[in-house]
Symmetry: C2
C-alpha cells in the first residue's frame, strides 16, 4: 500500500506532462503494454520511456508481467509487458439494480479484490444508495486491509440513458431516479471522482479495455438478454448522444402499428428480439419458470423447442442488427448479454439474418473490409468491470 499516494498524485497531475505521468495514465487506460507501445501511444522518445520506466519500476509503481493467457490467444498483448502495480491503487464499480446494488472493488490492473451485493428496498432513493454504498465500501476496505486513500474513483453503471453530465434521463430499472445527477448524489459521500454511464456503455468499455475489442477503436456492442441494448464506439470513444440516448438498439421502432413498448413507442425491436417472450412460451410448455440459462442448457442438450426459440429470436435480432450495420458499417460487432452464452446456437442464425438484411454483405467485399461478428468476453460482470473502466479511463485521459 506504500505506493498509493505516489500513483494517485501522478494520475492527478494534469499539468506538467511529465513522462512518468503520461506513462501511468496510458497504462491505467490500456492495461499491460510493452515499452515500444508506450512510446508510440505517448509520442515520447524510446529513451525517455526507458528512463521513466526504470524509475517507476524501482519505486514499485510499475511491475513486469509475463506474456500470459492474453498473449497466447494473440489478442494484441505483447509477450513481455509492463503494467501498473496492482497494489498501487483501487477503484470501485457499482451497478444499481431494482432491489440491490452490486459493488466491486478492483485494483488498477482491474483484478477484482472483493465483490458484494447490497440489498435495498425497492424504489430506494439516491441518498439511501449513497449511504448504503459508503458503509459497504468502508467495511470491505477494512476486511481486505485496503487503504481508503488509494481510492482513485467510483464508477456507476445505470440501467438508463445517462447524459454526459451524469444525469439519469429515463429510469427503467429504478423509476424514481429520472432526473437524478449521479455525481451530485455520490460525490459528497465519497469525496472521490464519480463517473456514471449507461450499463451498456460500461459493458462496451470493459470489452474495449480487456475483452473482445482490445486494440479496436471502432465497434458496436449488441446485447441480447431480457432486454436488447448496446453501445457504439467511434474513435475509441463511446458515443453517448446529446441526452445519453445513443446505442438504444432495443428501441428501434420497426413496426409503427406493433405492440406498445415500455418506452412509449410501438413495435420496438426489444419486444421481439429479447428473451422475455421466448421464456414465457418455454415456461408454459414445461409448466415451470424457465430462465435464459435453462433455455440455453436445453438447447445444448438438443431440445428442439428451446433451439427453435433461440434461432427465431436470433433471426429477429439479426435483422435489427442489420440496420445498425447499414448505418455504421463497423469493423467489429460484439454480441453480449446473457444470451451470448448460447454461443454458436445464437450466433449462426443471427449472422445469417444480418447478412441477408444489411447493405454491405461479407460476400460482396474483400476479407479485410468485412464486418466481424463475435461473442463478447464478458456476459455477467461486464457492467461492473466497465464501471471500474470508467474510473481508469478518466485518469488515463491525456487532456
Amino acid at each position: 500500500m506504500m505506493h498509493e499516494s505516489r500513483l494517485k498524485s501522478l494520475l492527478d497531475d494534469r499539468e506538467s506532462g511529465a513522462p512518468a505521468t503520461r506513462i501511468v495514465r496510458i497504462m491505467s487506460e490500456r492495461g499491460a503494454l510493452s515499452a515500444a507501445q508506450i512510446a508510440r501511444l505517448t509520442g515520447l522518445a524510446r529513451s525517455t520511456v526507458s528512463m521513466a520506466l526504470a524509475e517507476l519500476r524501482q519505486s514499485g509503481i510499475v511491475v513486469e508481467v509475463p506474456g500470459g493467457e492474453e498473449a497466447a490467444k494473440g489478442v494484441g498483448r505483447p509477450a513481455t509487458a509492463l503494467t501498473l502495480n496492482p497494489e498501487a491503487g483501487t477503484c470501485i464499480g457499482l451497478h444499481m439494480s431494482l432491489d440491490d446494488i452490486q459493488l466491486v472493488v478492483a485494483d488498477v490492473s482491474h483484478s477484482v479484490i472483493a465483490e458484494q451485493n447490497i440489498a435495498m428496498q425497492r424504489d430506494y432513493s439516491p441518498e439511501e444508495a449513497a449511504a448504503a454504498t459508503k458503509a459497504a465500501v468502508e467495511r470491505t476496505y477494512r476486511e481486505n486491509g485496503l487503504s481508503a486513500c488509494g481510492l482513485l474513483g467510483v464508477g456507476v453503471s445505470v440501467s438508463a440513458p445517462v447524459s454526459p453530465d451524469g444525469t439519469v434521463q429515463r429510469a427503467s430499472i429504478v423509476p424514481t431516479w429520472a432526473g437524478v445527477n449521479i455525481r451530485d448524489a455520490f460525490e459528497p459521500v465519497f469525496g472521490s471522482p464519480i463517473l456514471a454511464d449507461n450499463e451498456s456503455n460500461c459493458a462496451a468499455i470493459a470489452e474495449m479495455m480487456w475483452g473482445a475489442a482490445i486494440g479496436c477503436e471502432d465497434f458496436v456492442l449488441f446485447k441480447i438478454d431480457l432486454g436488447v441494448g448496446g453501445a457504439i464506439v467511434s474513435g475509441g470513444r463511446v458515443m453517448t448522444g446529446i441526452a445519453g440516448g445513443a446505442g438504444e438498439f432495443g428501441h428501434l421502432s420497426l413496426d409503427p402499428d406493433g405492440d406498445l413498448c415500455r418506452c412509449g413507442n410501438r413495435g420496438c425491436l426489444e419486444l421481439t428480439a429479447s428473451f422475455n417472450r421466448p421464456l414465457e412460451q418455454l415456461s408454459r410448455l414445461y409448466g415451470r419458470r424457465m430462465t435464459m440459462d435453462d433455455a440455453i442448457r436445453l438447447a445444448e442438450q438438443g431440445d428442439v423447442g428451446a433451439r427453435r426459440l433461440i434461432e427465431d429470436t436470433a433471426a429477429v435480432a439479426g435483422r435489427g442488427l442489420a440496420l445498425v450495420g447499414t448505418l455504421i458499417n463497423p469493423p467489429l460487432i460484439i454480441i453480449g448479454g446473457r444470451m451470448a452464452l448460447a454461443g454458436d446456437i445464437l450466433l449462426a442464425p443471427l449472422v445469417a439474418a444480418y447478412e441477408k438484411h444489411t447493405l454491405i454483405k461479407a460476400r460482396d467485399v474483400a476479407e479485410r473490409l468485412r464486418t466481424r461478428i463475435t461473442i463478447g468476453k464478458f456476459t455477467e460482470n461486464d457492467k461492473l468491470l466497465g464501471a471500474v473502466g470508467l474510473v481508469l479511463r478518466h485518469h488515463g485521459r491525456l487532456d
Copy 2:
C-alpha cells in the same frame, strides 16, 4: 500568386510543429478564426500566436476579414477574424456523375474561382476521367491566370461508398467503377494529393466547415433527393465504416417483404422516402415530366397534390430518421438534398414523424438535451465544396 509556395511548404511541414505551421493548418481546416480561437485550438500561448500571426500577415499568407454575414447570424464566427489569403493556394473539387464530371477550382478560403461541367460518354473509364479532368484543369488555370504550383490537392466526390483507402465499393452512378482505387487513378495524372470520399460524406464536410454545422463536432446529415443518403459525424470525424458503408440511411431495410431495391435488399427506406415515386405520380397527374423544383414550386403556390406528396414523403422519411435518432441521439440533424429547398413544407411533417417514432423525444428532456433538426446551408454545391473541404482538412490535420 507570390505566396503559393510558402503556404504549401507550411502546410506540408508535418514534422517541425512550428507555430506558423500549426496556425495555417488549423485555418485551412476551420476557415476564419479569432486569435483567441487559434490559441485554444492549437494549444499555443496567446503571445506565441500573436507573434506568428503578425509575421504571417506581413508575408501576406494571412489576411484580416471583417465580421460579415456569418457573425451577424451568430453561427460562431468572431466579429474580427483572420483567414488564409485567398490568393495563397488553390484546391480542386470533382464530382463524378453518370455522363459528366463536375469540377470546381476554389481558393483556400473555399471561394469558387471557376466551375465547369466536363461532358463524358456513359460508362467512362477512370483513365478517361483522369485525362479529361487534367485537360480541363489546365485550361481553367490558364484562363484564370492561376499557377499550377499553388495546387494543394484534388478532392473527389463519388456516388458510392468509398473505403478509407480510396477504393469505390459499390458503384451506383458509374457502375463500371466498383473496385477502382481513386487515388491510383488520379495521382499519376495530377501529382498532387488525391482525397476521395462518398458524396454524402463530402456534403457533411461542407456543412461542418462552412455550413449549418460550424463548431459542431457531432451531427447527422440526412439527404432527401431522388435518393436518400447521409453521413454521421462523430468527434469531428465523418464515420466511414470499414468498407465505406456508414451513413447509408436510404438502405435501411424497413420491410423485409417489401419491393426489391437496387441494392439487392427489400423494402429500403429510399424506395418510399425519396422523391422518385412522388414525381412519377405528379408527372402522371399533370401529363408532363415534373422535377423536384416543379413539385416545390407547386406546393409553395398552394397545389394540394404537390403539398400532400411532399408531406407524406416527409412523414416516411421522418420515421426512418427516427431510427437514426434512436441509434445516435445526435445534438444536430441537418436535412440536405434538393428537397431541403422545400423548407418548412418538408421540415414540419418530417420533424413530427421523427418525434413520434424516436426514443428520446424533445418533450421528455431539457432544452439543452434536445436534438435540433434544421435545413442545411448547401443543397446544390455541397458535394463539390465538400470535395474541396477534403483537401483543406487533409492539410489541416494536425498529426
